[in-house]
Amino acid sequence: MKCLDFTSRIDEYLDDQLRPENAEAFRNHLARCPTCAEEADAVEGLRRRAARLPQSLDPPQDLWPEIATRIAAERVVRGRFGRRALMAAAAVALIAGSVVTAYLVGRSQVGTTVENRQIIENDPSEIVLASFQELGVADYLVTRSGLFGALEVRSGDLSPETLEVLMTNLKVIDDAMEKIAEALEEEPDNEFLMKQLAAAYRRQINLLETAVQLPAEV
């Protein structure tokens, strides 16, 4: 056996992937060739170091809060309810005036996944950021959350019909965002799609701002 044959199959030898007769030839070569023996020791040393790496590493921060949030959304969005139960929950939420809950429940019926929204919302493009700037929105998630909070407070002033229309429109926008996000997964650098996404965000914020300012109906 030549040294080149040995080094080209050294991984197979050390990983016990060689046939017995070939392994025997390797062992014979190793006994006679200090250079190849050194090479084998080096690879074996690396394997041992890798095997000694800690199996468990603490993440820099606790990941549970984010997981818990997503699980909570999951439970509402598509979790452990049947479709009828979801629709009933939406109706109950409407009657109770919980716009946010109704919205989350309603999202399940357009097949919304939380994941795509988070990707887009956590990593917005320059186009989306510029769009927010035009709206005077420094932080989209904070603004949206604030508007939902304000809407929650005002929901008692609005009629069930108005709330239903509002939710329907929010779901339409949400659905559009999902479709755009899916398309962006395939073409992340598509400027047209990113502009469409920015427009959808603007429509959502505008709709919420308008709803919060509606005159009392009940």
């Binding site: 991984d11 197979e12 990983d15 992937q17 080096a42 690879v43 690396l46 394997r47 170091r49 890798a50 095997a51 000694r52 790496l53 800690p54 199996q55 468990s56 590493l57 603490d58 993440p59 820099p60 921060q61 990941l63 549970w64 984010e66 997981i67 818990a68 997503r70 699980i71 909570a72 999951e74 439970r75 979790g79 452990r80 994941e115 990707i119 990593d123 493009s125 962006l184 997964e185 992340p188």
Partner: protein
């Protein structure tokens, strides 16, 4: 579109995974049943018991701490979604390990444009690595070198040399030929030795 095989539940797990599973799953069966029934507190206990191993796998395979956190979160969310399909044929941690491998390999990097956010491993080393008394320098050097490997070579190396998969298993979960797995491992070891001796 890229298709990646998922790790089936009827494949015998790698030896290293089985060993870990045996030690960490004692007394967990009640938790798994409660979590499968929708008990979030029980699932949080399972998270606490397994997050270190899940994060370590994600970190080494992704080579990026920020992405590793996201993938670990995704693995637990995916596990929550799929708990109903967990039959208990294997230990929960073994099943979770498979879910994590599938999440990491199924992650399409192109969907997240994070180039600006990627930073080399070492600036943000996990506490267990940075804080270990024995062999700290050796571990950190190797972790850093692993993170600098090309994507395919890194994943094969982590699965084979750290996690104990065989080439056939690597081939199956990564959707590559056995020969490609061997070639990537050879490449990874060569690059690592070069990095560690330079």
């Amino acid at each position: 579109m890229e298709t990646i095989a998922t790790f089936p539940t009827d494949v015998a797990p790698p030896v290293a995974v089985m060993t870990e599973a045996n030690s960490s799953d004692r007394g967990k069966s009640g938790l798994v049943e409660r979590a499968a029934a929708g008990d979030v507190e029980a699932f949080e206990e399972l998270y606490r018991a397994n997050v270190g191993r899940v994060y370590a796998l994600c970190l080494r395979m992704a080579g990026d701490p920020t992405l590793a956190e996201e993938l670990a979160q995704e693995a637990f969310v995916r596990a929550w979604q799929k708990l109903g399909s967990f039959r208990g044929a294997s230990a929960f941690s073994t099943w979770l390990h498979r879910v994590t491998v599938n999440v990491v390999l199924g992650h399409r990097r192109s969907t997240i444009r994070r180039e600006a956010r990627v930073r080399p491993l070492g600036d943000d080393l996990p506490r267990d690595v940075a804080g270990r008394e024995a062999g700290t320098a050796e571990s950190i050097d190797l972790e850093r070198a692993i993170s600098s490997l090309p994507d395919g070579a890194r994943k094969v190396f982590v699965l084979h040399d750290v996690e104990g998969f065989r080439h056939q298993e690597v081939s199956h979960v990564m959707g590559i030929a056995v020969g490609t797995s061997k070639a990537q491992l050879h490449r990874a070891r060569k690059l690592l030795r070069k990095a560690l001796t330079s």
